[in-house]
Symmetry: C2
């Protein structure tokens, strides 16, 4: 059988630097575990704009549709801030999500024991935290029409449309319930059904889908209260299910609870392909970090953990994913730290490559 295929889109800023370490990890799995991948690479975001004048070339889009999984680094940077909306780096990422139909964005917010002190929250509030946020990723106000800026009575008016069909809500809900069955069997769904009709539909459909998952405990929460509860007592949650825009904000809020954005991976999953694997893209939650780009300071762990998610969700290699995650936990417990993980006590941080080195050694 042919090797599974990976398309690497390292993107902008620290994307290429952290992806270099992922490539070494991929190489290790080939050498040592006989897990070989056909790896190709291409451009996305500002890098694609510089080369082609668009943040994602059609050929790249076509390749992404064909591979077994896409690994993405990061997009964006100040250089591209003044570009027209239609060609901003973000549009490349959004096009991938939409055209690959990656409706289920899985964002674990996990607090590593060795790093619990890094959180701005009290240690007992976050130690052992293990939440999974399932964010709908292909619809809602990110993609709804009509949208744009137009003139009305001589005045500019900005419009976006929040729009959800019951099918879109249903498939995101199933992803959340399926995940909950493998975890703590609790789903909390968040919307603003008290002010938005789209939130009422969301709540109704989630409640209907729940009938197929009698073992899972379902609760509903208004998204504003959700933000509050995440700050107050995040460990009350197991799986959080929410829409594209609320998910954007709530998952960043949850990510920051862990104190270490450089540690958090994500998976964006779509429908099964002919080979049974889901359409999939994996990316770190952190951005392109222009302030530290090119200095060898970036933490590659979020990107490496994204590859671990690929092993688990795309290639059914849960044991290998566990192995990789365990290696990372070990190096952290041993005190390996990139600059973003340095406490007030100081010390010399590892470079991006050195962090890659110790992870490979631990493997």
């Amino acid at each position: 059988m042919a090797n599974p295929s990976l398309l690497i889109l390292a993107g902008d800023g620290i994307g290429p630097e952290v992806m270099d370490e992922v490539k070494r990890v991929i190489g290790w799995f080939g050498d040592k575990r006989d897990l070989n991948f056909d790896v190709s690479e291409d451009l996305v975001g500002g890098a694609a704009y510089d080369a082609h004048g668009v943040p994602l070339h059609d050929d790249t889009m076509a390749k992404a549709q064909e591979v077994d999984a896409v690994l993405l680094g990061a997009v964006g940077g100040p250089k591209y801030d003044d570009l027209d909306f239609s060609v901003k780096p973000e549009r490349g990422l959004l096009r991938l999500r939409k055209e690959m139909d990656l409706f289920a964005n899985l964002r674990p917010a996990q607090c590593f024991d060795a790093l619990a002190d890094f959180s701005s929250l009290k240690k007992d509030v976050v130690a052992g935290l293990d939440i999974m946020i399932v964010r709908e990723l292909t619809s809602g106000v990110y993609f709804g029409e009509p949208r744009g800026i137009h003139i009305e009575d001589n005045m500019r008016v900005g419009v976006n449309t929040q729009r959800y069909t019951e099918a879109e809500i249903e498939r995101a809900a199933r992803a959340a319930f399926d995940l909950a069955m493998k975890r703590g069997k609790k789903v909390c769904s968040m919307e603003k059904a008290n002010v938005m009709e789209s939130g009422i539909l969301w709540r109704d459909v989630v409640t209907e889908v729940h009938a197929d998952y009698p073992e899972v405990e379902l609760s509903h929460m208004y998204a504003d209260n959700g933000a509050m509860q995440l700050v107050r007592a995040p460990k009350q949650f197991d799986v959080i299910l929410t829409d594209n825009l609320f998910g954007d904000i709530l998952s960043d809020c949850a990510a920051m609870l862990t104190g270490s954005l450089g540690m958090l991976p994500s998976a964006s999953l779509g429908l099964p392909m002919a080979n049974g694997r889901p359409k999939a893209m994996y990316e770190p939650v952190h951005g392109s970090a222009p302030d530290i780009t090119g200095q060898g300071k970036a933490n590659p762990i979020a990107c490496i953990l994204s590859f671990a998610m690929a092993l688990r969700y795309s290639f059914d290699e849960g044991a290998e994913a566990d192995r990789l995650e365990a290696a990372i936990e070990k190096v952290l417990a041993d005190g390996a730290r990139t600059g973003d993980l340095m406490g007030p006590e100081g010390g010399t941080p590892l470079s991006t490559t050195q962090m890659g080195d110790v992870i490979l050694a631990a493997l």
Copy 2:
């Protein structure tokens, strides 16, 4: 000259309980400071629904338009959860905001020294915190048309519309810049201009208005990053300006940083009336707290501090507002605590009325 007029809408749940203490405080200002108000009372939310079948009677709406300021308690409760969207308690509140055109919602997130330990965040991250969130309150996805649930291809579809005109953005921005001039002279505006055109217009208009406030430092932040930064390092902010929906979530997130939701007031301000005072409604940030309703456990401080905001913003009685706030700081420093403010060390909490007593005594 006639006394200024106040309309009290105590609403549901703990609303009437906490408002009772506000009435005593109002009485004190009449007796001791010769500051007299003509106070009337009426129903809102579930209480109005029970009496009239609507969450806000037209007569109440008319009264609210005529008085100098409305004091609102809280709306909602499980009893009303299954009501039709159009008559839910929240609709009463939203109608007041919309018809009084209360476009600037001021939500201070302040951490009281005596309570810094209550936050789930580390003490040094929140001690001394003093942020003012200015949330646009009469537009955006809360009110945009089209909206509703309809059937398309045999499927339910939920739609809401995010819509902002430049005039709506401009007046909210002016409110934020005016406030910043009296505070730390820093405004951070939050939107999702990277994915929403309405966010691009927001950013553009705020930047244009900024030209009239050269002394104020303006920055822009994506709302997801804003949620993150609020959790990571909230003291970096002075005034945060944002739209109705982002403001709902971000202000609740900010509120929870202080650790004591029972402490946080808000003011919703509109255009000046004939007498020069702004249309205004004041309400605590906390909700109706059905779980503790009728037990005398509620913390009246948020509601009393909302009256202090009324003194400051509606009646130009800043010194009297300071006096009231100082009395509250004093009782907290002396250890007065309602149940929501009890630490793990325990002790006997004050009842709602007892907290009112000690505040009156401190005055």
